[in-house]
Symmetry: D2
Subunit: 205 residues, 4 copies
């Protein structure tokens, strides 16, 4: 009871217009794993912006790794996981799918549902406007749902995405911004899941 | 305060090893809207079992309504929403889709994202084993994600589902049980989102 | 045998660089139903361009109707059907979903699979780049697959689509062009299927 | 010519009411690639039944290979391709996704769309009733649509599927039968498309 009161006072102290106002005293530190596959570098740029969004919350710690380099401790020590992939044939890259398969084959998440209650998000890059980014993000989230994770969007209806060909080739500032929003959003929900939304006022768009 | 204390005492009374052990003192009461479309009665049976699962948590309050009867206050006062549909042509029923459309056309949820941070879940019934229940549940969750809701599975990889024709026509006890689990799971996450997972140990499968 | 020889000869006769070279003599006339829902007019513009694409093939006849106006004879006399929808909450509009539901409730397509072997395509418009156009097109195609239709893309990975807000509001020429391509593509496949199935009686369930 | 005539005669011999009655004289021989990943053997059993369904049509030739063994000539010489996968985390196996990725990385199908107009089908096996078989089949078909293939269902709403755990572990006769139907269905459509496209040269992009 005492602790909650403190939280309330601190919150008033640190609050300022447009800033994050989670009451830091009582809030947990959350660790977010941002993991991705990238060949051309586009998805990696998005991953960096997602990580930036995560780090913009002083309570958050980010680990950023290619899917092939993720170790058991990265997976299990994370409070939230954000997975990104380029679109290959209307779905995530084989490397990213194999990463999910390894959750079982290498990391043995089932039948204990070791990922349960971790928060999940997704991002994708693709050459075409409607060539598979939605399916990629939605199937990433579906893999997480099957693991009893708690999933959110952020930056867009299914997560953050960027179109890398056509009128605006590569990754532009607007696309980086939705990636940052995804990172912020996942942190926000991961913190909420740890401590409750009671003393928290979100400023993430 | 008095009411919450009572709840806490009752909780102690019913607690036993392997049972739900949410620390009731600090836990909020959550309201869950279970809403569905049903013609044959199968989806309604599932809805009733989902509601039963919700009510099995003493901190939870359930409102169960057909999608056509949901009012603005049902939607906005709920902490969590669980939507169920029969499968028609590999997707949710038109009635359920129209219900989601009305979130904007009748209830004006956008651009304020009035459903943000509410917890969402899905259930479906269908004649065939693989005839659209997954797509139905996943597109229900996708509609929720677009609303900035926090979505979970429960009872199955995407939510609770039942096959109503073939070897086991209608809804059997096993299918009712996954529906109950979905209700329990959504309550658990809705409570966590309100107060944090800190003092909570889940026993929901 | 004789007919097939004629076809070959005519084909040589009418061929010219860059032109459509179906041997018209033997080729069937195909009827394509282009049906859609539209409130703002964007999806209607796309529908008109799809219809234009259909009509660019001299063997093709087009019927263009809003989903609410489609009659049994429109559906059953068509060799191909192209369905378009605006995106509402990451899925087709309730009106379009209800149209598909009516394939059974009003038109009784099942259990005879009366739509079997008709060719199907999809188009969608949406405000956001990755806000549900893919899901809308893919679930339109999924509804068709459940009806034993033969489905194709055209103009894009899943069909034709247009983003109506952001950098390029409304429907631009490039988006109209992918809609025309979809119309042409569906005609091409419908003619192939109609020609090929002419001498065949299926026994596959 | 001689061989085709023989086929025609045989066809007359085996024809009986309710059987396949394609007019063999003009019908083409179609080659169907049935390719799959399998660890436990369940998906392989389904693949064998799909192949059996293909072979039940005297005009059809089948090539059955694991995805890792498919060579360029298998892919490009096939008139139709049927891809099967176990469900891992609500999607096709990484091996199958990597196979699709290799359509480009190893076989260079794009930008010429070398798979265009081939007919495609899908099958899946999964432990749970609604654990990802639909998503697996639909994303296999989506990969094919992006390649300008012509896709069909068969045996079920999205293709053939089997549930390998629970009440009926492994693959039972009913599940093998839907796999056979898928094989038959893909042959039927591939023959129609091949016959119909024979005298046609596409100008649609």
């Amino acid at each position: 009871m005492y602790r909650i009161l403190i939280v309330g006072l601190l919150s008033v102290t640190i609050a300022s217009p447009g800033e994050q106002v989670w009451a830091n005293e009582g809030a947990p530190v959350v660790t977010v794993l941002v993991t991705y596959h990238s060949v051309s570098g586009s998805t990696e740029k998005m991953a960096a912006a997602v990580a930036e969004g995560v780090r913009s919350n002083p309570q958050a710690r980010v680990v950023m790794k290619r899917v092939g380099n993720v170790m058991a401790e990265d997976l299990f020590s994370a409070d939230a996981i954000i997975v990104g992939s380029p679109v290959y044939w209307a779905n995530m890259a084989g490397e990213v799918k194999t990463f999910f398969d390894n959750w079982q084959f290498k990391f043995g998440v089932f039948p204990d549902f070791k990922m349960r209650n971790k928060v999940g998000g997704a991002f994708a890059t693709g050459g075409q406007v409607s060539g598979g980014k939605e399916i990629t993000m939605l199937t990433i989230l579906a893999a997480m749902l099957g693991n009893h994770m708690i999933v959110v969007s952020g930056g867009g209806a299914f997560g953050a995405s960027a179109t890398t060909e056509g009128h605006s080739p590569g990754i532009d500032e607007e696309e980086l911004e939705v990636a940052r929003i995804l990172g912020q959003r996942v942190v926000e929900v991961a913190m909420a899941v740890k401590t409750g939304l009671g003393s928290y006022k979100s400023v993430v768009p």
